[in-house]
């Protein structure tokens, strides 16, 4: 944050990326809340971290790796069981337009 304040436009941008529809009242409410959250995190700005490497994970462990051997998955029936819509073979979704 440049000035430590979230703008309404930033809230709308993030909301659009998250596919959230917000009215003006909600945008203002969330703007205040996001400001408060980020302001809280901004307390860390006071710490001198110039000598520290960034940490990407909470605990310093390495990833386990998996052998390239097939393991049983789900049957198609089970995979599709919770789908809002299916044609028996796949997950049915609203038509995706890819232009032509």
């Amino acid at each position: 944050m440049d000035d430590g304040k979230i703008s309404s436009e930033q809230v709308r941008h993030v909301a659009r990326l998250a596919r959230l529809q917000l009215d003006d009242v909600e945008v203002e409410a969330l703007r205040g809340q996001l400001d408060a959250i980020l302001g809280y995190v901004a307390a860390l700005d006071a710490v001198d971290v110039t000598a520290l490497l960034p940490s990407f994970h909470a605990i310093p462990i390495l990833s386990p790796l998996r052998e390239d051997v097939a393991t049983p998955g789900l049957t198609r029936e089970r995979a599709l069981a919770a789908a809002p819509a299916s044609d028996g073979e796949g997950f049915a979704v609203p038509k995706v337009l890819e232009g032509a």
């Binding site: 990833s63 790796l65 051997v69 097939a70 049983p72 028996g88 073979e89 796949g90 049915a92 979704v93």
Partner: protein, 488 residues
């Protein structure tokens, strides 16, 4: 056109890693299975499912990086690339953004007879998306098949070093060749295991800064890459020449109309909000591990060609033909290696013998599909057959006959030789001399003609000898003997 323009191209290739299972779960990656039969909670993005990286996928990606001159990082990480699309179950794709496995690198290839080197920006590992099946199913317009979702890919990002569609095609062909010889990718464009996005821009010749680029997505044939780039270049030049501006956007390629078309413009350009995937701690490959992978990596076509022309008696042309496909190269390697191990002739002779026979007899029946190839006769059987020719127990001609019978019957050399009653060639001059003297004595007229200078009748005598010996005489021995005895 009024001004001359220079084309600038950078390519992003998505190559499927040749693993048995997906990148973060144990579901098989077999192509062509019935929809949604190779899925599990991880690749369906069900709540609570946790990804575990496939070790082989990371190794294959490192092997590709080593072969392409990348800086293979001992520590790499995965990030989340966030966007919504029905083919993305989790709402994000797991990819490598900040800390890719391979940085830098380069690829050298021939454009016509000119060598060209293109820089690589990075090679990172990521999971593939699922497949949208359009128009399938009763009523629903789009149906998603998650079999492909989570398949391991490497994305090979080039620098904007390519200057024409022809160069782009040559780069892609060479890259595919390298990945196939490494066993990293099956090179199957039709099945989508090697596909390409092209970033294309034009600028007036002499201008330093790049023009505005467009990205052509998911082109799946070499021909279409060339056509799509050529179309896009002329479109952009047309826009600039008519006083317009090229819009930065994503474009698709329609191979029916032969045109690119706008898919997404910059206004809704994606903001992917990458961040480190908290489910995936860093992956570490130590220096020793990377060195071991380097040592174990299969040889590339140019390495094989250099060895085969310098040590194994092959012409550059032979070497080019025999490195046309990894399975053909392996076949030649096995046959030539076996003949050389027999120690009957110098390595260069054994190599040339194997190369000639494979090119003349074996290659016409080879069928390749991706990394697989089917041969009518296994390499070990051809090696066995040729070792008999090498030893002189079969003539070259008999060898070809036996091979053709092996190919059609599926039997080994020994069985065919026994069944057809193929006689070992008689190369014993003592045994042949009597027969030849008798034949000369029985044909005094032809003998006189020969002595009078009509040396063409030699062929008549060779034929007579072959008839008498039922084709079993060694041709070289017969020729030498006839030439000597006919002078008498």
């Amino acid at each position: 056109m009024a001004r001359a323009y220079e084309t600038v191209i950078g390519l992003e290739v998505h190559a499927q890693l040749k693993t048995a299972t997906k990148l973060f779960c144990g579901c098989p990656t077999d192509y062509g299975a019935a929809p949604n039969t190779q899925v599990c909670p991880v690749c369906l993005g069900l709540p609570g499912a946790l990804p575990v990286p496939n070790e082989r996928a990371m190794e294959l990606a490192a092997i590709a990086g080593l072969a392409l001159g990348c800086d293979v990082r001992s520590e790499s990480r995965f990030d989340r690339k966030n966007y919504f699309y029905p083919d993305l179950s989790k709402g994000y794709q797991i990819s490598q953004f900040e800390h890719p496995l391979n940085l830098g690198g380069h690829l050298t290839f021939l454009v016509g007879d000119q060598e060209k080197t293109v820089g690589l920006t990075r090679i990172h590992v990521e999971e593939d998306a699922a497949k949208n099946l359009h128009g399938a199913g009763g009523g629903a317009a789009t149906v998603v098949d998650f079999n492909r979702g989570g398949t391991p890919l490497i994305e090979i990002v080039s620098e904007p070093d390519l200057r024409s569609a022809v160069e782009a095609e040559a780069y892609l062909r060479k890259l595919r060749d390298v990945l196939m010889f490494l066993g990293v990718n099956d090179g199957n464009l039709e099945e989508g295991s090697f596909r390409c996005d092209a970033n294309v821009s034009v600028r007036p010749v002499g201008q330093e800064e790049f023009g505005t680029r467009t990205e052509i997505k998911n082109i799946n044939s070499f021909k279409f890459v060339r056509q799509a780039i050529d179309y896009e270049v002329s479109r952009q030049v047309g826009v600039l020449e008519s006083g317009g501006r090229v819009v930065q956007e994503t474009r698709g390629w329609n191979d029916v109309t032969g045109k690119t078309f706008s898919q997404r413009s910059k206004e809704d350009a994606h903001d992917y909000r990458y961040f480190p995937d908290p489910d995936l701690p860093p992956i570490v490959f130590g220096a020793e591990r990377i060195e071991a992978l380097r040592k174990a990596a299969p040889k590339l076509p140019e390495q094989l060609r250099a060895e085969w022309t310098s040590e194994w008696g092959l012409t550059p042309y032979d070497a080019e033909v025999l490195t046309g496909h990894p399975a053909i190269a392996a076949y030649f390697g096995e046959v030539a290696g076996a003949l050389d191990a027999g120690g009957r002739e110098p390595r260069a002779e054994a190599g040339k013998r194997a190369a000639n026979f494979i090119q003349a007899e074996v290659l016409r029946d080879v069928k390749t599909s991706g990394l697989d190839a089917t041969f009518s006769v296994p390499a070990a059987d051809v090696a066995e057959l040729l070792s008999r020719v090498q030893a002189g127990t079969l003539t070259g001609k008999q060898g070809k006959q036996v091979f053709s019978e092996m190919a059609s019957s599926g039997e080994g050399a020994e069985a065919v030789i026994a069944r057809l009653g193929v006689q070992a060639p008689i190369s014993d001059t003592g045994a042949l001399e009597g027969d030849i003297r008798a034949i000369i004595a029985a044909n005094p007229a032809q003998h006189e003609q020969y002595k009078a200078g009509k040396t063409k009748v030699l062929g008549f005598f060779v034929g007579q000898v072959m008839r008498v010996t039922k084709g079993a005489a060694d041709p070289a021995t017969v020729n030498a003997l006839l030439e000597r005895l006919l002078q008498e």
